[in-house]
Amino acid sequence: MYDVIIIGAGISGATIARELSRYDLKTIILDKEYDVATEATMANSAIIHSGHDPLPGTLKAKFNILGNRMYKQMSTELDIPFMECGGMVLATNKEEHILIEELYARGIENGLQSHELQMLNREDILLLEPNLSDHVISGLNLPTTAVTFPWEAAIANIENAMDNGVELALENKVVKIEKNDYFTVTTNKDVYKGRIVINATGIFGSDVANLISKATFETKARRGEYYVLDKDVRVANRVLYPAPSEKGKGVIITPQYHGNTLLGPTSEFVDFEDVSKTTASGLEYIKTNSQKLVKNIPFHKIVRSFAGGRATSSNGDFIIEESDVKGFINVCGIESPGLTAAPAIAVYVVGEIVGNILKLIKKEDFSPLRKPVVRTFELSNDELNELFKEDKRYSKMICRCEKVTEGEIVDSINRNCGARSIVGVKNRSRAGSGRCQGGFCQSEVINILARELNIDKQQVVYSKTGSEILIGKTKGEK
């Protein structure tokens, strides 16, 4: 019997799991996918928003402001990339200028301090962003905007939760939820019993909620497509937002922690099965719109395009509440600014909702720290040679483009919540995310995965069951 069953291993489920692991509770996370953080957490802008955008009085506004103020500490404890680069909303005409003045007022109403947002004119912005397009006339400066690495944030939270006793069961798709004295959660693989169920299933939020009682809301998938530019070009120094429209925050230019630049997203309601499909028209839209904010974008430096679904709820706000079934907690519709809000949502869910149902007793042996991750590109040669003395694999380069060593890849496999697939290795260590997209290193990653997981090379999967790369041996090979 579990105290808490969390369904969904995205950023919401991950931060809630870690928060729960501070207390003397038996917790398990279930996810239908082969790895954690595969949907909205995998495909978003990676931005820790300042809190200037959500409508005052909403849960989005409340948890955005709180979450933003928690990120630095969480990132330090869990060794998650965190880049305090700031952000700016740009206006390209008078109407947009009026809009960003409204955003200024909204930010103040949401609780931002006056040093946390300023209106700037074109000349001031040019000093900060020399690549600015000729169309921009003014901007709203947001110095507390930051950039993280979203799936690593989720992975790190789950890893730390597991270090503190939480269990993780992947490839478990929930098909039935029943309640008597306790909940019985049936998956395609197993049956789990628990006192509390937390539904953190992103775009499938209302589907899962409906398994136990008719949900008061509906979640829909809003697809966002993105382009990634190579890391040797920097088109912007901070997050650059266009003035918002009814379609959301628009095509944003986001410098990434590892030096890449993200362009996107689009915004379009689609069927669930289409959320990760990129389209020619969507990608064209990004190209056109990103150039309204900055000039000289080197589109020939694109290394990847991708798409993902954001969970939009029918009431337009986050849904964070116990349902009419006692002990069944919905954490749904966590679209932007959900990544920012996640740690604050977790504290609220555990402290204010779970805490009202179960007694929370702090664990004495809880460790908030995750074992630091080696990132070769961050270290000096002297530091690297210290590592080399301990483990020679930290000087064996596997990924040429991103400079990832065998040591880093092995570590990414052998941690709690470790990589089990080629994409899993890529998401944790960055091997294969550079300009050649694994063209050179993928076969070596397969070798390492096979060795570390003690399986045959032909069993190594790309992303999930059934996605093996090597389908047979060549003639004459035994």
Partner: protein, 418 residues
């Protein structure tokens, strides 16, 4: 810090030829750094024949071609390090590398030659529409799995792009018992050599869909089918879709010189070749740093890489002997009508021995035209061409005398015959 006369980054065909050429003319302390476990570069996975017709006057496989150079390297006792990845190149010619024996090491050279080769444009880079299942990979990656590791990546295969590696892989997959359902090329002409179209597609009845591209990739965990459409001006035409059930899509959509190190070092790049801007001596804008082979511009025949790298090697010898004249007063090579690029991009006539060899590519397919070399309005040379295509690199030789009347720049253009 260890000192070398020359550090060569990359032990493929370019690095090997440059090392041997320097050694032939000057006793030098040379170090060849190779990131793979063996010398030879991409030649090692090119087990088909057709290499060496120009250099050795016989037809060799890729590994055989490489072996000749590797054997000679051993014979001459030229120092090399395997599994050694260069992390950083400094403008003062310090080179940082890492390997499992020594850790992270910094060494100093008088001259550096960049011979890192190229990489394949990926699915991500071309923004293929649809899902991202497994089974979509570059032709070169599939070639490595097949020819080096001994594994098949698909039984029903489609190929996007008609670059040479894609064509070679079409034949290779057939020989391994796979079905190759077709090759789609977005341009109205092939991106590969004529001989590869004939020997790899025509001989095996593999259809080539010109002016077609992939408009959707289907499949959840593994690719299940690929949809292609006819294009007009690169835009897919609705209603022309053809769907193929496949378990692998190989991409042969272009090669890009591997210049991460060069760009980080501050070397000026040519946006057309995606390689460094070099002069007649294959020297970049940074004194003592040279480049040759596919890192400079993508070649279609390894024989050309070898010849170019030998010339670069000779120039490095002159550099080490202080015989290269330093001058900002150079002639600019300008690509005019129909010419997409020229290498080298700059020429100092005083450093040319007797002739200068230029490489260029044209923008589209041409028949019965002239390649015209001009300085201002004076025609220096006219070369009759029966056929030219972007896939086939053109070579022009200019004699020292040809430069007598040149002031400032030389242009090359494709012109109709009068």
């Amino acid at each position: 810090m260890k000192m070398y006369d020359v550090i060569i980054i990359g032990g493929g065909s370019a690095g090997l030829a440059a090392a041997l050429e320097i050694n032939k003319f000057r006793k030098s302390k040379i170090l060849l750094l190779e990131r793979d476990a063996e010398l030879g570069g991409i030649l090692l996975q090119c087990i088909h024949n057709g290499f060496g017709l120009k250099v050795f006057k016989e037809e060799l496989t890729g590994p055989e071609y490489a072996e000749r150079f590797i054997d000679e390297l051993h014979e001459k006792g030229i120092e090399y390090k395997l599994n050694s990845m260069v992390i950083k190149l400094h403008p003062d010619k310090r080179v940082e590398y890492a390997n499992i024996e020594e850790g992270f090491v910094t060494i100093q050279a008088k001259a550096v030659i960049l011979t890192m080769g190229c990489y394949e444009r990926s699915a991500g880079a071309i923004g293929l529409p649809g899902n991202r299942p497994s089974g979509v990979m570059t032709a070169g990656a599939a070639q490595k799995y097949l020819n080096i590791d001994g594994y098949l990546v698909g039984k029903n295969v489609f190929i996007l792009g008609s670059g040479d590696i894609g064509l070679i892989m079409a034949r290779r997959m057939i020989l391994e018992g796979a079905n190759v359902l077709g090759v789609a090329e977005i341009l109205p002409f092939s991106g590969g050599l004529k001989r590869n179209i004939v020997q790899c597609l025509d001989d095996y009845d593999i259809p080539l869909y010109l002016s077609h591209t992939v408009t959707e990739i289907k499949g959840e965990s593994k690719i299940s089918s690929v949809v292609i459409s006819k294009v007009k001006d690169f835009v897919p035409i609705p209603g022309t879709e053809i769907e193929f059930e496949v378990d692998a899509l190989l991409l042969s959509v272009g090669l890009i010189p591997e210049n991460g190190l060069s760009e980080a070092c501050g070397i000026d790049m040519d946006s057309r070749t995606k390689g460094p801007i070099v002069n007649e001596s294959y020297q970049t804008n940074i004194d003592g740093i040279f480049a040759c082979g596919n890192v400079l511009h993508v070649h279609d025949l390894v024989d050309f890489v070898t010849e170019e790298s030998r010339r670069a090697g000779q120039a490095v010898v002159k550099y080490l002997e202080n015989q290269l004249e330093k001058s900002d007063n150079h002639i600019e090579m300008i690509s005019k009508d129909g010419v997409s690029y020229i290498v080298p991009q700059q020429v100092n006539v005083n450093n040319i021995n007797d002739k200068l060899e230029l490489f260029l590519r044209v923008q589209k397919e041409y028949r019965d035209v002239n390649l015209v070399v001009r300085s201002n309005d004076t025609i220096i040379k006219t070369i009759r061409k029966k056929h030219m295509a972007p896939a086939e690199m053109e070579q022009i030789k200019l004699k020292v005398e040809d430069f007598d009347s040149v002031i400032g720049s030389i242009s090359i253009s494709v012109e109709e015959r009068q």
